[in-house]
Each structure stands twice: as C-alpha cells, then as structure tokens.
Symmetry: C2
Subunit: 348 residues, 2 copies
DNA sequence: CTGTTAGCGCATTCAG
DNA sequence: CTGAATGCGCTAACAG
C-alpha cells in the first residue's frame, strides 16, 4: 500500500529469499542472479509496490544518485533554461537534481552549499552569484565533483561550462558592423562579481575598434530606468549610426524600456541583446538576440560531472559553447515594417 | 577538511563525550545539555567542520528535513514564481526543497512522484500536469502530507492552494465592462486536464452575461499562431467594443502575437491576461493583467504542509488567494498614448 | 543532565 | 549463484 514504505526485508520474505539477493536485484549485480529468483523478486517487489529507499542507499556506498545545483537567480529565464537542461540530462543518467536558489545573495550561497553537501549529493553544478572560493575549495578537497556553470570562480581549478563569450561578442559586433552601425554602446550589469560579465566587457573593449566601431560602455548597478536614461539619451543623439548591445537578458529588458520611454525607434538606433527571451520576437520590430544553447550547456555540465565520478578525470576542462544569432528588426536600419512578422523574425 | 565527512563519532570523541550528546546538541534537545558540554561540542564540531549527514538523519526518525515539489512546467515564469515562493518559505522553516519538473508529461509525473517518495520527503507540494490520482492516493495513505498547488486533482481530498479563480474572472469582467467593452472572447488552453482552467472557463460562462457582456470562448490545443488567427480575426470584426481575455500567461503571449500579426491596436480591441509577466508593461500601450500573489501562495503551501506534519490536521483546507489588477493601456479604448510610460502602467 | 543500547534500510564483504 | 553477517551516520528509547 505505501509505495516507499515496503522495505527490502518485506520483499525478501515474500519472495522467500534473503535481503542480499533483493539488494542485488535492484543494484548493479542483477546478472548474477538466477532467472528463477529474479522472477520471484520481481513479482514480490511489484505486488508490494517496493521502491528502494534512496536515503538508505546513499548512506552506504551505493551513492545517493543525487546531483545538486546552485542557481544564482531562479527567476531569470536564462537560469531556468539551464536548470531545465541540467535536470533533463541528469534524469537521462538516472540521477535526480536538487536545486537551490541563492537570490544572488552570497551569504545564502554558503548556506545552500552546506545544505547540498549535507544531502550527500554526488556532484555539484554551480552557477555562483558571488565568489565562494573557500567553501568550494573545501568541497572539492572532500572529493565532490564540481562543475562551474556560466560563471567562473577566482582561482578555483574546476571545470567551467558556458557560452563562448568572446565569440558571442565578436558575432554581435560583426552583425552590428555589417548592418551599418558605426558607434556601439555596451551595457552591462556590474561586472565585479560575475566572470562572464567581465569576459564580455573586456572582449567588447578589445574588438570594437578593430571593426571600425566607436565604442562606449555603461555599467549598471541598478536596472532602474533612471540609471539608464541619461546615458542612453546622450548616446542616441551622438554621431554615426548608433546601436546598443546588452550584456544579458535583464539589461535587454531595461533598455527596451528605455527605448520606449525615449520614443526611440528600434533599428534606427540599433538594439541587440545576449540571451533570447519569449518577448524579444514580440516587441515590434523584433529584438535581435544571441541565443545560448542552454540544453547543450546543461547536458555538458552533467557529462562533466559523471566523468569525474567515473574517475576518468581528463584534466580540467573548459567548455565554450557557441551562441546562435537571431537577427530581427531591431538591428535593421531601414526596417521593412510592413512585411515584418514574428515568424520570419524567428528564422534568421 | 571535508565538511560533511566528519561524523558524529569524531566530534564526540574530540569533545570527550558520547554520540547522544552530540546528537542532542544538533537536534531539538540542546536545552537539555549543560552549558559546559555545549561549549565543548560547539568547539569540536567547529574545528572539525562537522555538518550532520541529513540522509542518515532521514533514515531514522529525525526526518529528512526535505520537502518535495512537483512542477508541471518549470519554464513557465508563473510556475517558477511559485517555486520561488515555496522555496523561500521552506527555507525559513529549516526545510530544503527538491524540485522535479514534469514538462507537462503525465508519465514523467508518475516517475518523478516515485523519485520524490524514494527520497523520503516529509511533504509534497504538487502542481500536477495531469490527473495522477492513483499514485497520489497511495502516497496520501502512506502518510505523506500533501498539498495541491494551483491545480486540483479529481476526487483527491487534499488541501488545495491557489488563485481565487472565480474572483479573478469576476474582476476581469468587471474591469472590461467598466472600460466600456461589450463583447468578450475568453481564450484558454485545453481545460480537460487542468482544474484551474476549467474553473476559470466555467466562471466566465456564468458571469459574462450578468454583466451585460456578449461572450465567446476559444479553447486552444496548440499555442501556434495558426490556431489563434481565424477566431481572433473574426472576433475583432464582430459587433460591439470587443475585448479578449486570456486564461494564463502562455495564452497572453500567443494573443499578443496574434494582435501584432493582425495589426490590431491594443485597447481599441481590448486585451487582458491572467498572470503578470515581465514584458506585459513593455508592449505598448501595456497589457492589463491580473497578477497572482505567488509568494503568498507558496508560503501558504508550506504552512499547510507543516500543519499536517504537526498533526494538527484542521480538516481539508482550500486557500483561495485574490489577484491584483494591473490596469494598463491594452484595456483602454481611447488611449492617451503620448503620455504613456511604463512606470505609470505599473501603478494602477 | 548524560552515556549505553538498538536499530532505520540498505550494500557489501565473506562464506557456503 | 546465494545467504548470513557487519556497519554506514544518526536518533531514540532506555537506563544511570
């Protein structure tokens, strides 16, 4: 009756055998059992609705079959997409995922890390909000496989998986240059804590001029409109066809608001963002974005983890995934508005 | 060195005491220990970096301190908001949350339910995608506290928490009527599986006419534009000031696309949705929505669960939470476009 | 107040 | 191929 209430012992007695055999049946040694016994156990387990207690299993050496994931901001659609990717891949490998959100709070981050460890997770996927070097160091030394997702952590020698930020910036600049823009404003949230933001910002500073683009940057401590307006307004009136490049989805949202507030026509002033969002195709004439392959990134993270588990530690690896350009009207200087449809905008 | 590697015994020996005392120190009986002992244990535990193994604790009677949550669609921002609410409340009570996504797949749902049970969660928050009556029944009988979130399950006598759907529909109809619309099209995803969709649909059918509104409904099997266009087009040309009411966020997105495709001016043809989304204030002239109090709903779920755990089972409860109206330009028949700003749109 | 004794449900030696 | 025995890390009576 109670699904997870039936124990190994009950199954064993009902099948008229011993605990060990039942244990083997549900473990990796089923092949070492006679077909007859397998049959009996199978039936007994089924009628009892038996399911192994994964906590007990985790206690011994069998492994908890649990993976942990730390997410900096679960309300960010991009993060959710990553969670989804990781969860799918984990399930495909027979693992479950316990997700902890940190709301970008470094203190919470430490707590959650401890919690995850307390549940004996076999591996950890970490999308850090801060720089929790110390706790992560100790975790690594305690032998828990670790993978950093989307954000690196200072001096932590661990696998890192995420977007190829350099390539992304290059693609964005190439696209903007090709569309005839000559002056680009790069807007990012404060890059002090997040390695990804730094990488993108640095690359932008390096690569804009070589493409003949005048560059400016705006670093935001807040995504409030007030923080954006003055710079945006001045920039929009400056020389050369101008375009704004947004460092992530949150920034894109903030700037879309800014454009609207100022009555700027997207395209006339270019707007482009990293991270694809539901509504980017919807805001006329469509916002051009670089979409991240979140499922692939999530899957790569799980693969990494499992590789570490299998002991075959092929040195520290850094996976850089390429983005996909979704070109839309917001980076088209002479929009053919009449023919625009969201469908077209989805297939560059 | 290893955070979760140090065991109760090691702490006990270092503190020159017994396992029981250490156990008590970390349990609920710390008060029954002498200050001196507490001090010694405290130090020992600290130098060893000891953290209780929650799996082992869960094995005995101490409880796993784990709550499980089943989510129908983790990529739906509304669902994520619920997860966030539940997780916050759980953490505040010293519980961790293990979240399983079902991608609206009934089969996956059963699997995930089994997984959750296997981890000995102390309670379950369920946002069902299908009608997994049987598995839930057995779970209930096995004594696991259960709470249904946003969606009921047929004949399952369990606490249900969510929006007050009747009130929501009434508020929407009142608002639309007040704004001068006379004919309303209600668009919903297929209501066969989800109780919430049924409740809203039924209420709409009951309450439209009493308010002097002509009513029509459109039930969607797919959110593709093709599924929406014909009806929308015909409806927009029908008599009386017309407005469209969307049953949830996904539908709102689909219809915003439809409006754009047809070149319909929002407001002239009204558009209103249940569920607030990032971009609703952004699409000019702003889409009017009913926002759900997701944090409150999540917190209520956890409270319910913990009540059941405490044994004080105050009969089956149904929490109905009131939505909040965010009136924007999409339900204003004579928009004052020039003065429109997103900020204003956020504060009705 | 504190230590001692049993298991929780399972995986894993080790013998048959 | 199979069963009996031991212990994972912890909590819960039970005695002092």
């Amino acid at each position: 009756m109670s699904p997870s209430r039936a124990t190994l012992i009950e199954v064993a007695t009902l099948a008229e055998t011993s605990k060990s055999s039942v244990s083997r049946f549900f473990g990796t040694e089923r092949n070492k059992l006679s077909p007859a016994l397998c049959e009996r156990i199978e039936r007994a387990a089924h009628t009892l609705g038996y399911r192994p207690n994964l906590m007990a299993r985790g206690l011994k050496g069998g492994g908890s079959r649990l993976l942990g994931m730390l997410v900096a901001d679960i309300r960010n659609p991009f993060s959710v997409a990553l969670v989804h990717g990781v969860e799918q891949a984990a399930r495909a490998q027979g693992y479950s995922l316990i997700v902890c959100n940190t709301d970008n709070d470094p203190a919470l981050e430490q707590t959650q890390l401890a919690t995850l460890a307390a549940y004996q997770v076999e591996g950890l996927v970490i999308n850090a909000s801060g720089q929790p070097e110390a706790p992560l160091q100790t975790l690594m030394h305690s032998g828990v496989p670790l993978v950093l997702l989307d954000r690196e952590v200072n001096q932590l020698k661990a696998d890192v998986i995420g977007l190829d930020n350099a390539q992304a910036i290059d693609m964005a600049l190439d696209h903007l240059a090709l569309q005839g823009y000559r002056s680009v404003l790069y807007v990012s949230e404060s890059p002090t804590q997040a390695s990804t933001r730094q990488a993108r910002l640095i690359r932008f500073k390096q690569q804009a001029r070589p493409r003949g683009l005048t560059r400016r940057t705006l670093l935001l401590d807040s995504l409030e409109l007030e923080a954006v307006m003055p710079t945006l307004k001045a920039f929009a009136q400056s020389a050369g066809p101008t375009a704004v490049l947004c460092g992530n989805g949150n920034v894109t949202l903030a700037l879309a608001r800014g454009f609207q507030r100022l009555g700027l026509a997207m395209g006339q002033v270019g707007l482009m963002g990293i991270d694809e969002l539901d509504w980017c195709a919807l805001i006329a004439p469509g916002i051009t974005t670089l979409a991240q392959p979140t499922d692939a990134i999530g899957a790569a993270a799980v693969t990494c983890l499992l590789n570490q588990l299998k002991g075959t530690t092929p040195a520290t690896v850094i996976h850089r995934h390429a983005p996909r350009l979704l070109a839309r009207g917001s980076t088209q200087r002479s929009p053919t508005l009449s023919s625009f449809t969201p469908e077209q905008a989805n297939n560059p």
